[in-house]
Amino acid sequence: MDQSVTTNLGSTVLAALGDAVNDVRIFRDEVTLITTKERVLEVLQHLRDVQHFEMLTDETCVDYYPREPRFGILYQLYSLSRNIRVRVKVMLGEYERTIPTACGVYTAANWLEREIYDLFGITFDGHPDLRRIMMPPGWEGHPLLKENPVKVEEVAFSFNRNRIDAEKPYARE
């Protein structure tokens, strides 16, 4: 990828969109545009139609707990004609777990947003089919939130074997 294009992209978008983009961050030659959930559709629309980012390659969420705002929704865009990538990031607070859907701009967002809803519990306003996609329909909770600890089994040595064995969920002989 041409390095100068990447660096210029941030300033070009910033000039065109003005206050819709709050910040431009560059880390390891990757451009991230920080915007708000009110303006995100406007930014995505601009990037698709004016900047020729035809493809939404990925959309995901990060739980930054205990930081506030807690959630980050990330849109990974790719431009076929210009061969560059850009990332759009929206931060959501603990008590505002909702964001407008990007399905109207990028068709590919449909399942990706369902996945975010399923695993993080972020709801997407105006999404045509917001259902769980990975977990079963009756599942309670959202597994990728940081409230759910990653449970690993303790390594058993002679000094703690009896205690670990007693905590095992299954029946013993």
Binding site: F27, R28, T57, D63, Y64, Q76, A108, G121, E147, N148
Partner: protein, 429 residues
Amino acid sequence: MTVAEPQFQIEESPQNTVTASDTQLDITLDQLKKLVSPRALTGDTMLLNMGPQHPSTHGVLRLLLELDGETVISCVPDIGFLHTGIEKTHEGKNYTKGIVLTDRIDYLAPLICNLAYVGAVEKLVGVDVPIRAQYIRVILAELTRMNSHLVWLGTHALDIGAMSMFLYTFREREMLLDIFELVSGARMMTSYFRVGGLWRDVPDHFVDAVRNILKVFPQRLLDYEKLLRENPLWKERTVGVGVIGREDAIAYGMTGPSLRGSGVNYDVRKAMPYSSYDHFDFSVPLGSTGDVYDRYRCRMDEFYQSLKIIEQALDRLPNGPIVTDNRKVAPPPKHEIAYSMESLIHHFKLWTEGFHAPEGEVYHAVESGKGEFGVFISSDGGPKPRRVHFRAPSLCNLQALPHMSKGALIADIVGIVGSVDIVLGEVDR
């Protein structure tokens, strides 16, 4: 199961409480009714469940088909049967241990998943990989791509009715699995690439073994072409079936041969070369109409390109180190530990805690057999990632299935699912 003690509690303010269960929507019948046409509710059309145990769904994909006679009115894929929480598990593993999990994502192309993951970590940490390691990575990634395509070809042909194809491709696949066993000790779950290089150097007879594949494969590919390429039965089942246009394929975020079958020239190896793919001369096969036959042709032509890349990499395979000399991420050689205190410390740190990655977020994509396989890592500066997300090409390609199968015959559904080339381990992760 004993209830896991939560490690921390989210503070709840009394009047403004949003818990996970509050945001959860209850699925109403109306929501499900929207998925099918109104005719299904009157009984005019028939709803048929295909899968998750159907052999031609390549795993555990469930399709809800709405049929008018034999014509598919709508197709609703239901996925998640193989969800294993790989992304969550990554949060509890350090960066080296995470490599093992990546084998299990696309279990038909484990080395490419390894390559994507270590590439992302290397980008995050800022490590340079020795050129010999890069070339060996390319050779193995191309062999993996052939492995992935062989399984696709065999099962796809089997779905459509060409049984013998499956037997031939699995015979050849065995040769490739032998190579993976040669270098890593495991046939499928290789975990051979490490951050900064390779686990160990390839054995001496590796080059001969790969040369043998280069010698055998062109003849075998010719056999495959004789069986299918101009076969009238094959063409009748594939030409003009499951068409997706250029614009639609892009909008759905399709990548890989499924996108190139529609004539879009996008291959990550060419567009954003990684692991020194820019050193090799190869072309990107393209289709034109975007039907099942074009996708088949793209993958078949990729076999020849893969062979071409492997041959060039073998010819120019340099000598030298296979792992970076940055001791902060790559372990020191065993003999150094005996006399160097610093090496011992590095070894101890790497094997107990793992290395720390700088705080930041990176996205690194490689071209897998299915399309753009991307890894997104968000690091909080510690030895374990805050979040790892895998951009699975199968998921995005499968999303276009309802579009491709609208108006198709039910017998063609198996052909279309096969031509998209999905691996459910990757779709559900």
